[in-house]
């Protein structure tokens, strides 16, 4: 076991003081030390995208970053998407369009979509499909995920 490092992670605009080994992945620390278990681990080698979070606004795989790298950066997870009881348009749209079944990949897809839409609200269909092909869903066959994200774009534009 190597020495622990004390640092502060800023997650969903809240500071978490944590004590980590350098080898602890950001995903593990978010889940186990900060108690934010909405960030899921599906493969731990960067393929499935279930652990996708926003790091300084960009969607990244939290299993491929060490927590020790992330002090001073702005981290957003699925728990920070809704405001109180009000669902983010993407969350409501996933529900309304049956874009989830088991729900395991859902937080990753939500953060992936949130990240890209905040950067590029007028993203083309082709680019959107390219981005959404980053994550794996084993239940839905993706059709409803694409539909949900498209519908949310319209809703986000209205807000």
């Amino acid at each position: 076991m190597s020495a622990r490092v004390n640092l502060t992670l800023n997650i969903n605009e809240r500071d978490y003081a944590v004590s980590v080994e350098p080898r602890h992945t950001l995903a593990d620390v978010i889940r186990d030390q900060c108690g934010l278990t909405g960030t899921h681990l599906g493969c731990e080698h960067g393929v499935c995208g279930s652990c996708t979070i926003l790091l300084d606004g960009e969607p990244v795989r939290a299993c491929l970053i060490f927590a020790v790298q992330c002090d001073g950066q702005e981290i957003r997870t699925v728990e920070g998407l809704s405001e109180g009881n009000e669902l983010h348009p993407l969350q409501a749209s996933f529900r309304d369009n049956h874009a989830l079944q088991c729900g395991y990949c859902t937080p990753g897809f939500l953060m992936l979509a949130a990240g890209i839409l905040e950067r590029n609200p007028s993203i083309s269909d082709e680019d959107l499909r390219d981005v959404l092909s980053s994550n794996i869903c084993r239940c839905t066959g993706y059709a409803n995920i694409v539909k949900a994200v498209r519908a949310a774009v319209a809703e986000m534009g209205r807000r």
Binding site: E21, S50, H98, Y104, G141, Y142, A143, I145
Partner: protein, 770 residues
């Protein structure tokens, strides 16, 4: 069927609120104070004798609490079959929870480590030294059987299914067509890996298993036998489950280990499978070699089918015994009227990951074989593939249609209802099959390698024997439906709530559905083999009707109105002819039915009921898959341009959820047809043990899948006519894709092996000089 108020509507799911906000509770999200983390040191050899195990370095690592080999748990037997799969001849082939003396696949558990954190546990596993002496490695069921143990070969069983005069039919056939076919090894690979937490409460003498799924009561019963405790001492709990597909929720060695360890070590024990382990250890499936032949008359009518199957079971026989091989054989004739049939299976163990059921077990395989045969007949006789199928389909007037096998130990089948030609026609019409042929001709003429194919299939579901439900209305009108069902993400809660809401007359959103908790209800069928909606749904329906009857009986007395004049709308009883007249809510009725109530009379206290539903037989949904693919001749790459799933589900409880099942299942099928394969080298080393090597389809590979859900043949075997929807999306995909690729390359019988990888397709084209 009369149109329901909520039954049959594509309403949003009750499950979704916590799942979209990151507040689900999957097994990895559950933690108990003072828990230990278990890590398994696994075999790196496919087949070897264990000469010695040295765990001293692992034990010495700070943070390690205990290290076990099989010698530490001599009292724990191998993982048992489910009660209904017991087979004496297969028992010696069961898997010990930690290898005893021999390892039989790469990934076989050998040593269990219990440590303070998951990182340390993994460090310790690396420090375990195991000395192996290699044994002969068998990587294919085609190889001559070897020795499983002294006196026992790796051909664990030889199975036969027969009916009719097969030899006579082949003797008088106009043509006999033979094919040599392979279905590749693939599996469900849910996004959430497996996980299990054992926890023992000495104060109450109750052992808990968290992270269970699919068949909780049955697993409890198996575990109770293995551990020697009583059912009331073992509580099995389901949390959120990140996908099942047949493979999750079966009993595995790790489930047993966490329970034994929790009790013995006196601390909760948590095990979360990693993806590498998952791809080496969780159940795989599908790998079969078929030598199949069919006898036809000059019009292409099938006279007989025969199949010799080599079934690759992997290193051990797991919970399902030879069920998959049996399903393959008994569903092989599918929805065709075949007078004579013989199938034999060499059920063989190999030194690869053990196999069991994966979505549409035995059916994906047999549909591929059957439809390949039919396509080959069409090509041989110069018949249209549509026409030859029409000629052979079982006709509606033959329903119910019986398949009676000669063998006493083989279960006979009776197809409950169906109009197969009608669905076939509807599917072809919606797909625009005839105009499509013109378009394909044009595009081929312009140089494109493009073609269409089809897979027609029969599914089965709703197999009994029985399931129950308990429904209670509380004093504020809240409704709790307690079931022994299970939710793997398919929308079980919503479906049950819709069925209950329809029968009882309440808003489905006010219903709380309990599932997967063995301490809440003594029996439960779980969610497997497309049973949940039929069995548990049937139970919820009859139970809700019983609650309704009790509520109306009480309301009738309180409102002084005849029972048959009353209705329940949104949880309020009122007179049908006078909706603005006197009313009473279900909550108030529940209050009046409380124990000691003055108006209780001779009634049982409480507004609740408990009923069972016992269907008399299995239901058989059926479907048609149609595909258009384009082949890139230069790379062997295949693009699926169009795919359609047409499926008669008897009755759709929630069409949006049915569609989700079909589309999702279909993409899994496309994975198995084109991308996914667990390959091994000749030393039995797995070469697809990461998600960079085992290729799950992404959106980039997903076509827009068209869906036609029909309700033309409700099942007569249950009150709602439900036939279920879980496995129809995947069943015919391999068949349709193989046919379409064959059509595209102008070689109708060329595709003999799933998955059709670009390299395999290039090999076929290159052999043709293309």
């Amino acid at each position: 069927m009369p149109e329901g108020k909520v039954l049959g509507k594509p309403v949003t799911r009750l499950e979704d609120q916590p799942l979209v906000t990151g507040r689900g509770r999957y097994v990895g999200d559950i933690n108990f104070p003072h828990q230990l983390h278990m890590r398994i040191a696994r075999s790196v050899h496919a087949h070897a004798e264990i000469r010695s195990i040295d765990t001293s370095r692992a034990r010495a690592l700070p943070g390690v609490f205990a290290v076990w080999t099989s010698d530490d748990i001599p009292e724990v037997g191998p993982v048992d079959f489910r009660a209904d799969r017991a087979s004496e001849v297969l028992k010696p082939y069961r898997q010990p929870v930690l290898a005893r003396g021999r390892v039989r696949y790469v990934g076989d558990p050998v040593v269990a480590i219990f440590a303070e954190d998951a990182y340390v546990a993994e460090d310790a596993a690396e420090l375990v030294d195991i000395d192996y002496s290699p044994l002969r490695i068998i990587v294919s069921a085609d190889e001559d059987p070897g020795e499983f143990e002294p006196g026992r070969t790796t051909e664990a069983a030889f199975l036969t299914h027969t009916f009719g005069d097969v030899d006579g039919a082949f003797a008088k056939a106009h043509k006999v067509i033979e094919l040599d076919l392979h279905t590749g090894r693939h599996s469900g690979v849910p996004l959430e890996t497996r996980g299990a937490i054992g926890r023992y409460d000495a104060a109450t003498d109750i052992l808990e298993l968290h992270g269970a799924a699919k068949v909780l009561h049955r697993n409890r019963d198996t575990l109770v036998n293995m551990l020697g405790c009583n059912p009331d001492q073992l509580h099995v709990h389901e949390s959120h489950v990140g996908g099942g597909f047949g493979i999750r929720g079966e009993l595995y060695p790790e489930d047993v280990l966490v329970l034994v360890a929790a009790k013995r070590l006196g601390r909760p024990v948590k095990w979360i499978e990693d993806r590498y382990e998952h791809l080496m250890c969780a159940n795989q499936g599908r790998e079969q070699h078929h030598l199949a032949r069919v006898a036809v008359d000059k019009d292409g009518r099938i006279l007989a089918m025969e199949d010799k199957i080599f079934h690759d079971q992997g290193g051990y026989v797991r919970t399902h015994g030879y069920n998959v091989a049996n399903r393959t054989m008994c569903m092989l004739t599918g929805l065709y009227d075949v007078p004579a049939f013989r199938a034999v299976t060499h059920y063989r163990l190999t030194n690869k990951t053990p196999c069991a059921t994966y979505r549409a077990p035995g059916r994906f395989e047999s549909t591929f074989v059957r439809e390949r045969l039919v396509d080959a007949v069409a090509a041989e006789l110069g018949l249209d593939p549509v026409e030859i199928r029409r000629r052979n389909l079982i006709r509606p007037e033959q329903m119910p249609y019986k398949l009676e096998f000669d063998e006493a130990n083989v279960e006979n089948l009776e197809f409950d209802s169906g109009d197969y030609p009608l669905l076939f026609k509807k599917a072809l019409d919606m797909f625009g099959w005839n105009t499509l042929q013109e378009e394909l001709k044009r595009r081929r003429a312009a140089g494109e390698m493009i073609g269409a194919g089809m897979g027609l299939f029969l599914e089965e579901g709703g197999r009994g024997p029985s399931d129950g439900a308990r429904i209670a209305v509380d004093s504020r009108g809240g409704v709790e439906v307690v079931t022994g069902g299970a939710s793997l993400g398919q929308g079980f809660e919503t479906a049950m709530a819709q069925i209950c809401a329809e029968a009882l007359g309440v808003d489905y959103r006010k219903i709380r559905v309990i599932h997967g908790q063995t301490d809440r209800i003594p029996y439960g069928i779980g969610a497997h083999a497309t049973r949940a909606t039929v069995l548990t749904g049937g139970a919820v329906h009859v139970t809700a009707l019983a609650v309704r009857a009790k509520a109306l009986d009480m309301a009738s007395e309180l409102l002084q109105l005849p029972v048959d004049s009353l209705e329940i709308v949104d949880g309020t009883v009122r007179q049908r002819s006078n909706p603005r007249g006197p009313t009473i809510t279900l909550g108030d009725i529940a209050k009046r039915l409380a124990p000691g109530s003055k108006v209780l009379g001779g009634r049982q206290p409480g507004l609740w009921a408990e009923e069972f539903f016992n269907p008399k037989d299995t239901v058989f949904p059926y479907g048609v898959h149609l595909a258009v693919v384009k082949v890139d001749p230069g790379t062997g790459g295949v693009t699926v341009e169009r795919f359609m799933v047409a499926y008669d589900v008897g009755r759709a409880v929630n069409p949006a959820m049915v569609e989700g099942q079909l589309v999702g299942g279909c993409l899994q099928g496309l994975g198995g047809a084109l991308y996914e394969e667990f390959i091994y080298d000749d030393q039995g080393q797995p070469l697809a043990a990461t998600l960079a090597d085992y290729l799950l389809p992404t959106l980039g590979e997903a076509p827009d899948i068209e869906v036609l859900i029909t309700e033309d043949a409700p099942s007569p075997l249950n009150p709602l006519g439900i036939k279920s929807a879980g496995e129809g999306g995947i069943n015919g995909v391999g068949a349709a894709i193989a046919g379409a690729i064959g059509d595209a390359i102008g070689r109708p019988g060329a595709i003999r092996r799933m998955p059709v990888t670009p390299q395999r397709l290039r090999d076929i084209l290159r052999a043709d000089g293309r």
